[in-house]
């Protein structure tokens, strides 16, 4: 049986690991390379690295950092941040990324997802969507690290991007991000019923029970974990041991 994945989510600003709350008030939490080696040793199932300043600054995630990471770690690494064309993606793959993550440029220009899937295969193209509930209770996508709202229906957008070749979706609830108060389980339960590719939940992991609740109530394929690992006293080994006790099918670390 396929395991539920526990995925450290690395938000990067250039060569530093950072962490924010609801996409603002950000702090430096260390060196991404040494952190990656620690989580690899603890049995993390993969690592997602996203440079959250790249799109704004008109550059991509730093390929040399990916290269160092895959030299030291033996787990899959997904890389994203500022990827706006096939050439940018090529540089990330050449540096050793196993998958690429597109967010802003994939939403603003969905054709990019199609071009990437054609070149690299759908299994290597991950689309990350940041969403927030509007006052009417509808989820709306945001781009540029939560700064700009997009007038699109989330259901329609998800299906469009998957139709074009998105092989995996990371869905981030902006309001939950960095708050350690639990996932927006309702969002993931809804999304899981709408799409047929793997779905990674992101935003809100703060305790063992938040993760157990996510998997019990939504059947997501993986959970991204950030602040809980970087700023609290949790590690992958104990997270997996707890989830195993709660009958969540995680891989033995």
């Amino acid at each position: 049986m396929i395991s539920k994945r526990i995925i450290p989510l690395f938000l990067l600003s250039g060569l530093r690991l950072v962490k924010g709350s609801q996409f603002t008030s950000r702090i430096d939490v260390g060196d991404p390379l040494s952190q990656a080696m620690i989580y690899d040793a603890q049995g993390a199932d993969e690592i997602i690295c996203v440079d959250i300043d790249a799109a704004d600054e008109g550059r991509t995630i730093v390929p040399e950092l990916i290269e160092k990471m895959i030299t030291e770690c033996r787990l899959p690494v997904a890389a994203g941040g500022g990827i706006r064309n096939v050439k940018d993606a090529h540089r990330c793959f050449a540096a050793g990324a196993d998958k690429i993550v597109v967010n802003t440029h994939g939403v603003l220009n969905p054709a990019l997802v199609g071009e990437l899937a054609k070149e690299f295969g759908t299994q290597s193209v991950v689309v990350s969507l940041d969403v927030k509930k509007d006052p009417g209770g509808e989820y709306r996508p945001y781009v540029f690290s939560g700064k700009q709202r997009v007038e699109a229906d989330l259901d329609v957008l998800l299906k469009q991007l998957i139709g074009l070749g998105a092989g995996e979706i990371i869905l981030t609830a902006i309001d939950r991000e960095g708050r350690l108060k639990g996932f927006d389980v309702e969002l993931y339960h809804w999304a899981r019923s709408r799409i047929d590719v793997p779905l990674i939940a992101s935003g809100g992991a703060g305790s063992y029970d938040d993760l157990a609740a996510l998997f019990h109530q939504s059947d997501c394929d993986g959970a991204a974990v950030g602040t809980m690992l970087f700023l609290r006293d949790y590690d992958i080994v104990r997270i997996k041991a707890y989830l195993t006790g709660k009958k969540v099918a995680v891989r033995d670390a």
Binding site: M1, I2, S3, R5, D40, G43, D45, E46, E67, I70, T71, R74, L75, P76, F93, A94, A95, G96, A97, D98, K99, K118, E119, F120, G121, T122, Q123, S124, G167, E168, D196, V197, P198, D221, G222, R251, D252
Partner: protein
């Protein structure tokens, strides 16, 4: 013992290189097909699109050289992911493309009621021959694919993996040729031990 990784600029062969480096093996990227002769184990890795891979191998003159290495010189060959799929007779990915045909069978898109495709993440393997899995404890490897090899001869199947209701041939062996659908180079300790067993047992 010399290990050569075919460098045909598709997907990421760097991780495979570094995984063999871990044990201090003599491993290099092979960019000139004439050099294949110098290696005891040839590794064909790669993630991506089947017709694109075939086209690159032909353009770079690896196609005939690999056929000769596999069939005439009987060199040990390890295929990983798309590398294994290329061993088949053909694939339906983006139209119909012929493969090497070293192992009988075809590559087809994975389908099934409620099946999430791509097959992505860590999944268990069941093994019919233990020799390459000594010391491999958790039997869980990283998968990342939308197409699967459907072999014709049961005898060629070394490893299987259950995904939904689908039993995937996740490892194939025929004499000097071994292929796996999963990524040992991305599968932490078990993946490294598997690669070590392959170096010691196949070459």
């Amino acid at each position: 013992m010399k290990i050569g990784i075919v460098n045909y600029s598709i997907g990421n062969v760097g991780s495979v290189h570094r995984a063999f480096d871990f044990y201090g093996y003599d491993v290099s990227l092979v960019s000139d097909p004439k050099d294949l002769d110098r290696f005891d184990l040839i590794v064909l890795a790669g993630v991506g699109n089947f017709p694109v891979a075939v086209d690159r191998l032909k353009t770079l003159h690896f196609w005939d050289a690999l056929n000769e290495a596999a069939l005439i010189k009987k060199k040990a060959i390890l295929g990983i992911c798309l590398g294994m799929q290329l061993f088949g007779e053909g694939s339906e990915e983006d139209g119909e493309t012929q493969g090497f045909g070293w192992i009988k069978g075809r590559v087809e898109k994975m389908k099934g009621e409620g099946l999430r495709v791509p097959h992505m993440g860590w999944n268990q393997v069941s093994v019919s021959d233990e020799s390459f899995f000594r010391g491999v404890r958790a039997r869980s490897f990283y998968f990342m694919h939308s197409y699967r090899f459907v072999p014709q001869e049961k005898g060629d199947v070394l490893v299987t993996t259950l995904y939904g209701d689908l039993t995937i041939a996740s490892g194939l062996r025929k004499e000097n040729i071994l292929g796996v659908q999963f990524h040992p180079e991305k599968s932490q300790g078990d993946g490294l031990r598997f690669l070590k067993n392959v170096v010691e047992g196949l070459a």
